[in-house]
Symmetry: D2
Subunit: 419 residues, 4 copies
Amino acid sequence: MIELVDAIIDLFIFKHLTGVMSMFDFSPTPEQQEMIEKATAFMDEYVYPNEKYMVPHRGLPEDILRPLQARVKEMGLWAGHMPKEIGGMGMGFVSLGLLSEIIGRSPIAPYIFGSMAPDAGNSEILWHAGTPEQKRKYLIPLVNGEIRSCFAMTEPEVSGSDPTTLQARAEKDGNDWVINAHKWFTTGAIGASFSIVMAATDPDAPPHKRFSMFIVDADNPGFEIVREIPIMGDHYTGGHGEVRYTNCRIPAENMLGNRGEGFKLAQLRLGPGRITHAMRWIGVAKRSFDLMVDYSLRRETRGKKLAEFQTIQNFIADSATEIEAARLMTLYAAWKMDQGDQARKEISMIKFFGAKVLQDVIDRAIQVHGALGITADTPLEGFYREARSARIYDGPDEVHRMVVAKQILKAFQAERQLV
Amino acid sequence: MIELVDAIIDLFIFKHLTGVMSMFDFSPTPEQQEMIEKATAFMDEYVYPNEKYMVPHRGLPEDILRPLQARVKEMGLWAGHMPKEIGGMGMGFVSLGLLSEIIGRSPIAPYIFGSMAPDAGNSEILWHAGTPEQKRKYLIPLVNGEIRSCFAMTEPEVSGSDPTTLQARAEKDGNDWVINAHKWFTTGAIGASFSIVMAATDPDAPPHKRFSMFIVDADNPGFEIVREIPIMGDHYTGGHGEVRYTNCRIPAENMLGNRGEGFKLAQLRLGPGRITHAMRWIGVAKRSFDLMVDYSLRRETRGKKLAEFQTIQNFIADSATEIEAARLMTLYAAWKMDQGDQARKEISMIKFFGAKVLQDVIDRAIQVHGALGITADTPLEGFYREARSARIYDGPDEVHRMVVAKQILKAFQAERQLV
Amino acid sequence: MIELVDAIIDLFIFKHLTGVMSMFDFSPTPEQQEMIEKATAFMDEYVYPNEKYMVPHRGLPEDILRPLQARVKEMGLWAGHMPKEIGGMGMGFVSLGLLSEIIGRSPIAPYIFGSMAPDAGNSEILWHAGTPEQKRKYLIPLVNGEIRSCFAMTEPEVSGSDPTTLQARAEKDGNDWVINAHKWFTTGAIGASFSIVMAATDPDAPPHKRFSMFIVDADNPGFEIVREIPIMGDHYTGGHGEVRYTNCRIPAENMLGNRGEGFKLAQLRLGPGRITHAMRWIGVAKRSFDLMVDYSLRRETRGKKLAEFQTIQNFIADSATEIEAARLMTLYAAWKMDQGDQARKEISMIKFFGAKVLQDVIDRAIQVHGALGITADTPLEGFYREARSARIYDGPDEVHRMVVAKQILKAFQAERQLV
Amino acid sequence: MIELVDAIIDLFIFKHLTGVMSMFDFSPTPEQQEMIEKATAFMDEYVYPNEKYMVPHRGLPEDILRPLQARVKEMGLWAGHMPKEIGGMGMGFVSLGLLSEIIGRSPIAPYIFGSMAPDAGNSEILWHAGTPEQKRKYLIPLVNGEIRSCFAMTEPEVSGSDPTTLQARAEKDGNDWVINAHKWFTTGAIGASFSIVMAATDPDAPPHKRFSMFIVDADNPGFEIVREIPIMGDHYTGGHGEVRYTNCRIPAENMLGNRGEGFKLAQLRLGPGRITHAMRWIGVAKRSFDLMVDYSLRRETRGKKLAEFQTIQNFIADSATEIEAARLMTLYAAWKMDQGDQARKEISMIKFFGAKVLQDVIDRAIQVHGALGITADTPLEGFYREARSARIYDGPDEVHRMVVAKQILKAFQAERQLV
């Protein structure tokens, strides 16, 4: 069969079959192609060689990070998720996906390209919902990479899968709001300049009208980082904080969006955020894949290269196939979003499908590396630890499966009623 | 989270983000859209209601089949895989894929739409390699659906994964060829008018030059159907024959293509054949999925609809996701082929990935139906039996994984040598 | 590593370590050992060679079956599940398991050894709950293999997972009962002499007191086999019937057990029945495994035996390991039952775990056989079709997982309340 | 079905079925039972509460560890793997397994019970192969827990799966040996008093006669810990060292065993070592399982306990079932070893099967805990990191599958030649 497959085929004889041209088009535009090439070359030359300077939970030292950021800005690849007016690239989701799968290959790259969580998501909310003053004070330095921020939603006392139970409270006192909250998994908390906090402003309103968002400066006397949570993955600069907000008094103009719009803004932030993660995961998976294939061609055991063992070949074939599937699904969801569709079902699909592909590919790459794979001598060990949370953050697999099923069941029922 | 997800989002606020338009385009052309709608309506009205008349291994009775075929021809949806000159639709692979995933929903549909194996593949070889006389005599009635054919490659004595070991022989005797062969898994043998037979013409030549193809009429005195092989799936009209060719004397003009081109033609036939199968599988999987969702909304147990159980919701979410992945991968491979690329890696990927999705989705659909699922009262039972062979025919999973791995390893090594 | 592992080790040096003797003892008694050897030899000599005479849904012809049954009775291996007083072997569950995994290797063996479903289960109920007259009239000829029987519980209109919704009714009329019911999946219905029917006698009683069991002769004028259900697997003699009971009038003495005890008796029948299935599955899996290994040592492709390919070796290793796991779990459950424990959790565990192992091992064995594997030329094709129902009958996987989880959760909660 | 299952059954009616008693006996002896209870109580009272003092890669501080060790010695549960003569418990493998699955529940317990790797394995070699002087000098303080040791086999330059390629060399110089080697993954290296080193003494001998073992004191001037390898798991005191032996001169009496016996001793060490790991994994899996069930009963989301969600119930059922399977297989292998059988196939089976169960159970437990699961606030995060190496150390999965397959194929072929 292999031999058959290796036979040379005169493909020209198929040509005439091509009549009605297909619309399904999987090719990038010239602009996208150029962006891909520039970003790839930059990764090779400037990003991978600097990975060794990454400090767990703290990222790159400033003196290494800053010049790299400057170069990215020069190249016009800074802040792909932001509109041009504010210093970003002003692209659609497909283009963002194509860039993200390159940036995703290195844990330091999102910081170098100005697209790291949670700042990217915070910028998006500020852009959409911020007042001119909020934009001036918080958004512009954030997009420029001058400051970092954090986002405070999850609380230790209640399930993250049911945000209607959040216990944080904001009470009006004169022209101020006074916030009391106990949050955790506040990514990037250490060193952040401000936090966007979700708190109940109308606890007795219907669940989706209960909450509002606020900007709290980190130097607010009531803002206290109780501890940095010891966590499996260490790729995020600023770690993950457990934070108490004790009688944090903030002026009314620090409300973000309107009163009762907290959920709407959170969803605005989370929806695209999920696809951004999925795009980045493709990059992590591809890098892991490349490391696996490369090592399998270098390492020998029992007189054969690892690549000659059928089990290893199965690892390679399965990984390549799964990455291809996840990638196409991600780009498909991005395309739907570019068409103005929420793509809620598609985003949930790639959230759990992509996270599994991510984990499986890294796992196989580690296995091929043997003992070396579980050391920090390759990026795989860090990828593996970081990847475990992908099935939890922004909604656990179980919730996303439920979302997909419910969307489908609803559509089936709607169709029935028509008939 | 569900609640969050259910919150209404003003999507217009995303709109401005869409700057550089994406090329990745997942929408059908207007012509494709029209084809899809016509085919879908025809399936609903004429195909599904006639499934009950299908006889295992024999298909639809002629008096039901013929009028349906006539309607399809009228609609212009006949023989999607063939050029217009010969009575087909003259489409590219993407268009063929979009049609095939509709036709694939019913085991009788390929016969009604003139695109059933092995006739479709045989038509393709005859079109590309046949002489004018062969086209007149064999191809035209075959494409018209007046006769059926079969294809004889696999032999019981040797592994189908290594075709260089095939033992069939054709010896020149004057102006004739005399063929001796023992073949099996000759799909559609019972009732076929002719067989395309692969036999060694130069057994001492290098493996890929050893074999040639011949057209043998079924009324040749040396053509003997030893038995109809009892086989798990029963969707193919004419069953699967074990056939002996004993001193089958045929005239020289019945050689198909040139001497020694057997492999090349087989590959030409198998390559696109594999993607056609994968396209059809999407249809089978989608039909099974629809049956599963529909039943889960109708059947109750312990006071709840099946659709309310989380395990069933997981089945639905996983199945929808896997079908989406397989579908995008199949269309991607088709698109590559439309660009003139052999897409060998992509075809092998969907061959084993798609076959697994197919089997898993049918399996879950059966499980949801409970005991009903293993009866012939729904199409699932037949789908399940038929699907088992998908991981074997046109190359077993194991070979396709090897093909994918070897393509990747070769590409990695080529890149290294450049550096 | 292999080389290391192949090094010869002086194991005597471990000996002294063995101080406290282990109680965990995995060896059979001499009686069990003798039984195993006799049964194995009989299978080789008399069972496998007669498989070719099996007729789908009808089993062995009488003239072949009867002499084989006589031999088994002579050997003292007849009706392993029955007490000695009634012509059985009077063994515990572990012994029954050891015998069943041998009998299970062939679909005709249960009929030859007098231990086929549903007769075995029916015998058990009759033995425990039957009146002396019922035992004389129904049990004795049944255990002797002179007649066959069937068991009627499942109904097409309601979910088999929720038996409290069964709609069959039995109404007292003078000294008679009049039964009206619509049943299906009545295994062995065609040719059965009588049916044990579950019907509501007190529809308004609490669910578990509603039903009673009745013996209905097949020649009752109201007993009508509507159709033989076309079903995927074909190993059961008498097929699977859809049966209507229309005003079936039967005398009061044909009630089996007491009024309202239907559930209790059904559970009595199903509990051990499930483990009997699991025991038999080990036999099917082992036979499939042996066929796989044997073929892998005989068949060559690309100049190598299949057994030399690492993927095939993985199939072998995984299959052997999973069979070992399922076997130990089954024997463990049997042992618990021999101690007087209901082993409800353990039985549910092997029900779903064993059914998966069964399906996976057959699946791999088919894959190794390639196209041959999906033909009836080996037993694998029939095993595969039959095995699909294992995840459905006697409770679907989903229910058994629920049972296991609820048992565990209940135990955890009980322990907490103690503390 | 649940309802059925919940029905009360008079089990006495089964009793008479129990005739031939089963030998398969899954109950512990009274001595084992007592050991289990004592160890369990000690874990509850003294081990779990001290886990919080564990320092990654360094274990418990001496002032906490020492008094706990003293208590264990008093209880007679010290060094279960060692004979009584030398201060151990003198048990067989089954008993050791029963104890190990308790000790395995906590990463600090092996140190408290005197059974931690690599000291346990080193003690075994020293006991079997050591001279009286070596026993006095190294074994006695090691078994007493006064010193720690390490074991040096793996080298960065060659594949650990093929030990015949090890490059370490020992050359005779007068009455001394001079060792040069570059080793890594030397567990416990930091703080060890001595290392057992595998080095080639006869590089030209047949592979299995090439190597010998030597005891090298850590204060040997040529012994240099190049670095502590940054590694995913952190449960081992003393970490994992990369160690250079540069012209390490040692006296002839420091050879362990005879010249050329290195492989034999390594295998002696690794064989039982593998089963000891598997035993311990059962404990890790059970602890993770308990944490999962417990949390599912405490945590609520959307108004329901996690334990009420069917997906979580599936996690519980699958985990319990897989643990049961792995446990029985491990005890079965131990039992075979107690019978004087090498149980090579069974040990390889549990090596890869058990490692997968371990990983899957921890993974599900983390998923149930959500974000909490990936923090160090529960033991799960550490378990997860440590567990990844289980599929690599003492032979990767791939090698163990090969061992199982080869053993089976060899047995099949042997049987054929008999026939």
